[in-house]
Symmetry: C2
Subunit: 86 residues, 2 copies
Amino acid sequence: MDVEILGLIAGALTAIASMPQLIKVLKTKNVEDISWLMLVILITGLSLWVWYGFEQNELPIILSNSFAVLVNLTLLISYFIHKNKN
Amino acid sequence: MDVEILGLIAGALTAIASMPQLIKVLKTKNVEDISWLMLVILITGLSLWVWYGFEQNELPIILSNSFAVLVNLTLLISYFIHKNKN
């Protein structure tokens, strides 16, 4: 398989992975079993991957991790909104 | 910053990100708010990143994603163990 395509598929999957979790949180408004520390470490790491992608000039890494940062930031914000409600 | 070091830090963070979630699940045995679909998509994507890392010969990508696959597989197994108990 072409390595660029492989990277794009891998990136698409890890980028959209948090979407079902975000949808679940938005629907149920329950976040008790979720670790906010996971989200903070993940967002920091993903942001560094975006930086790494720019340094290496690798589009799959830049695109997928930027999208994942957005999704997980939304998840973290939702977490604190619903955590305070309980 | 040296790009290899940047990649290793980014990789270390995204690799350990799921650890607090795993510890939380092992402690509380509550998995209700967690999306198993997230875990399945994530593990598939991470495995493809490992493959990508081998193709590009990039050690930070191989190491961090292999470790993340292990943690998230353990999380998925824990999910189904505790989901069935409830």
